[in-house]
């Protein structure tokens, strides 16, 4: 369509053209439009139509671009995980090393901070700078988490409201994109991330997984063992819907949360009844 003005075709064509069209050179589009478009009779009408079309098309383009931000979010949450892991690995190395000069050497990020402020006597310089790297990486993880918390509600407002920004980003990361998450059935959403937990289990770090990454959600983790399955199913169901709403409309629908709260109240009531019975 290169070379043609934006106003060629139907209203839908026009919006598409504004977003994706092109021309090597500009032209006297108002005059050409008045000559060729049946619904444009004069300059006033031309500019009115142009205004209407650019505002609509640009709004759609902004939404699409922001939605493409699911990709940024996914990279950010992966980088966050890497930074947290490497910060801990290097903190462990630091702690072992510091033990040679500081009988009271502690562990973790806190100890790295302490070492920088008050380096032990006879502490070689690279040990202090290693501690600085550890603290920097931990800070980087914090920064990435802040970015995820800021971006997730823009990219996927409903998913973020239900799952919290970090879990929302992890679900997107596991699915690969908002588009792909929106196409997954509820049952798949429920076990997303279980592969990882299984791996951890095989390496002896974790118990055998019963749920995917949604286990980190308070509604699942905070529910007594017998009802966790129901809670996980309820949550996964709403998350699957939220992902679809986020993908296809992008509008925030607070009723999703309300419905989920109601469902959880029912599950909890069941638990209370159970308690009553056993009492």
């Amino acid at each position: 369509m290169s070379g043609d003005g934006w106003f060629v075709g139907t209203q839908n064509d026009r919006l598409e053209r504004i977003r994706y069209g092109s021309a090597a050179q500009p032209a006297d589009w108002p005059t050409l439009a008045i000559e060729s478009a049946t619904d444009i009779d004069d300059e006033t009408m031309y500019y009115d139509r142009l205004h209407e079309a650019t505002v609509s098309a640009t709004r759609a383009a902004v939404q699409a671009r922001e939605r493409a931000d699911d990709n940024q979010l996914i990279h950010a949450i992966r980088a966050l995980k890497d930074c947290r892991r490497t910060a801990n690995e290097l903190a462990e190395r630091l702690s072992e090393w510091a033990g040679t000069v500081d009988p009271e050497a502690g562990t973790g990020i806190d100890y790295a901070e302490r070492l920088i402020e008050e380096p032990p006597a006879d502490c070689p310089e690279p040990m202090i700078s290693l501690a600085t790297r550890v603290v920097d990486l931990a800070q980087q993880a914090e920064d990435l988490e802040a970015y995820v918390e800021r971006q997730a509600p823009v990219v996927a407002p409903n998913l973020s409201a239900l799952a919290g920004p970090v879990l929302a980003a992890r679900l997107l990361s596991l699915a690969g994109s908002l588009d792909s998450l929106a196409k997954k059935p509820s049952g798949t959403v429920q076990v997303l991330g279980a592969e990882e937990a299984l791996f951890a289990h095989l390496r002896g770090h974790a118990p055998s997984p019963k749920h995917g990454v949604i286990f980190t959600h308070e509604a699942v983790r905070g529910t007594r063992l017998e009802d966790r399955g129901s809670a996980a199913r309820a949550l996964a169901g709403k998350l699957a819907i939220a992902a679809r709403v986020d993908h296809y409309s992008g509008e925030y629908r607070p009723e999703l949360e309300a419905e989920f709260e109601e469902r959880m109240a029912t599950i909890r009531a069941r638990a209370d009844e159970g308690d009553d019975k056993t009492e």
């Binding site: 369509m1 290169s2 070379g3 043609d4 003005g5 934006w6 053209r17 504004i18 069209g21 092109s22 021309a23 090597a24 050179q25 500009p26 032209a27 006297d28 589009w29 108002p30 500019y47 009115d48 142009l50 205004h51 650019t54 505002v55 640009t58 709004r59 383009a61 902004v62 671009r65 922001e66 931000d69």
Partner: protein, 211 residues
Amino acid sequence: MPELPAGVERRSFDGVERLATRGEPVYGEPTADGWRAWNPDRSKLGAMFELGMDTGLEGGETVLYLGAANGTTVSHVADFAGPTYAVEFSPRPTRDLLEVAERRSRLFPLLKDARKPETYAHIVEEDVDVIVQDVATRGQADVALRNRRFLAEDGRLLLAVKARSEDVTASPDSVFSAVRESLESGYEILESRRLEAHHMDHLGIVARPQK
């Protein structure tokens, strides 16, 4: 001092004389009698007016605005100009720009890359009277040169050059002279002035296409 374009006036806000245009307020600026103050510290074009640069603007012009950001300056431009095409590349500020555009029927928001004029040459008409450019990317002279195709023969380029966007390490002076030099391959520079009083390390340039 050159005259201000029709639709731009110095009006008193709380006893202080300030640049102003008539229109819906946008960013919480002071208003009085339907006029809204135009803060030159938040707008390079505002600063160019404030510093008395001869922009050649008379009011009612057709404008191509490159780097509209969240619409602060372009809202004032649309208040006194004619049809105004506002190009912005980042989605987030464009959300705000859309709000501004919804209340100004001759402001046309476009989510486009000013370095790629062919992606909006099918929308922006030829022979616009003015190009206002305020893009914070490298190659600011190049952006102006690529967009020359839109400008009428006797049109004006009103360019704000941000030194740090070209090269953080070089001195602003050397950046500015490099930009001027590139620019002169397609434009005749009529006036240029440091906007220091309102914007650190920015140069304001008024130019017209070379014959």
